[in-house]
Amino acid sequence: MIGDMVNSNSSGLPIIDIIGLNKSFAVGKNDVEVLKGIDLEILPGEFVLLFGHSGCGKSTLLNTLIGLERPTSGNISLRGRDLYSMSEDARAKVRQDRFGMVHQQANWIKSLNVVENVAYSLMIAGYNRRDAVKRAEHALELFGLAEYARYTPTELSGGQQQKVSICRAIVNNPWIIVADEPTGNLDTVSAEEVMKIFKSINEQAKRTILMVSHNPDYEKYATKLVYMKDGLIEKVVSRKTVLVDEDQYPSDLLAMARGNLL
């Protein structure tokens, strides 16, 4: 096994435990193996940066992780619960409550405005509309986006849209934030801003972050670096380990972020 885990002081249980993960896709008559036996532990409070060339299986790994892509073999457990032995609706429920997602390209429900898009994360979890909008407004305030609350999302700049996406990802108080090249479409200034937000979410609110990136400059933000190549984990580097016990987990991410997250 190339990916030798460096988690010497893992006294806490992993928040995500990936064991022997394989995934192959049928392309024509052939099966193409995209993931070839991935083992990876992610500990609570880590900022994991996933590096790798295009086509090495990063996105497939992320999709499998959040319960959208059933693996061919292997297990993924989230705080000890096996993700793929749950029903589809139960996995949807996990995405509602436990994961916050940020994509390279911000996705919007076009008929809703900015604050309603952020509130949607809460609505699917069963909030009533007034409370959801109130909390979403509060989240936007933390990011200095309160004035854009009633805009149509596509009226905002790329950087602003990405910040709103982050807002939406954290508003439901998730355990883990999964980001797939969140700065891929941004200029360097906006990209730096977005990275700082992720860092403060990680440090101030103690959330676990799993981010895919191509940019080696971001190494400085991460506590764990994972290098992937051809469907395998090539190398794992733990730079410093910040362990967070479940008890220490801040109850509300938004309350934890003091003042402005920027």
């Binding site: 429920k93 996990v94 997602m101 309603e116 009533n128």
Partner: protein, 396 residues
Amino acid sequence: MRFSYLLYLAYRNLFSHKMRTILTAGGVAISVGFIVFLISFGLGLQRISTDQITNLEALQVLDVSIAKSKLLSINDETMNKFTKLGNVEEAHPQVSSATKISYGKSSIDGVAYGKNTEYLKLEDIKLTAGRQYTNESTDEAIINVAAQNQLATGGDALGKEITLDVVIRSELLPKDEKAKQFSKTFKIVGVVNDKSAPFVYVPLHIFTDNGVVNYSNAKVKMLNKNDVNQAKLQIENMGLKASSIKETIDQINQFFSIFQVILISFGGIAILVAALGMFNTLTISLIEKTREVGFMKALGTMRHDVYWLFTLESVLIGALGSVVGVASGVGLGVVLNSAIFGLASSTGNQAVELFYIPAYLIFLILGSSVLVSLLTGVYPARRAAKISPLDAMRYE
């Protein structure tokens, strides 16, 4: 997700495509409005035809007349037989003869009827002025509006005196007696609402006192309208002719039920076209929203929430269309009814309600068109619910 939020989301989705929503709902509205209009027209016509002919009591009455054969006649003996048939409530005869009606210098040809008040009641005559005579009165008569207008009464015949010159045909008299004539003066006590040909009603004894023994025809009232058919057979077996208004009404109702089926099939075609339009809109909107739906599911939206979101959009379009359609269909009927009413009262005719639809039918139409839109939404909604989030998010 809460149902109220799904409803809100469906509303927002429809609202963000105003033109498309209005056009699709407009299609539904036109077809529903069309159906409401056609049905209320059909029911209105049917109601006019049956209402004008009869009140409920008239359904129990048989009209008896002598058949073409001159051998048989209706006389007191026959009337006795009628009352002895089973389930007969009452039976009353009338006599009719040609007459000359004179008032002052004016004189017209008409018909004189000898009938008692019981007969008038069976006929359900409507007096526009005055009162009925009594069976015993010797000098009281009722004329119709036609006679009042044609005689120089100045439009008010009440209390005026007319002279009748009545010809009694031989059939009405005992055997071997020749036709004869009598003349008598009457005071007009009532005017009956009828504009056809001039006629006069006088008590029956005016004729019998002048030697009449055979009657022209009779009315037989049954205890129950279901007895009418059997009594008709019995009377026909006596060699007489019997007819009831029930037959006519049954025929009219039969005609209108066929008419309604035709109207409803036209409406059904319109609904089908609207449903196809709605299906098309929903499918296009689904294709357009594939990426969005994929993303919603990636965020953790449950399949059944996606399913209900699309179904609700369809139901909202259907409900909007049917409410507007029913309102305009009923509204058009009301407008035309009042136009007819206005026209009728300005020309002095009796107003009719040409469009009529009962409330339960309105709700039935509303309910069924919402049901149709629900069914139309099922297939696109199922497709939406089955969308794979990853495939959809790669979809451009």
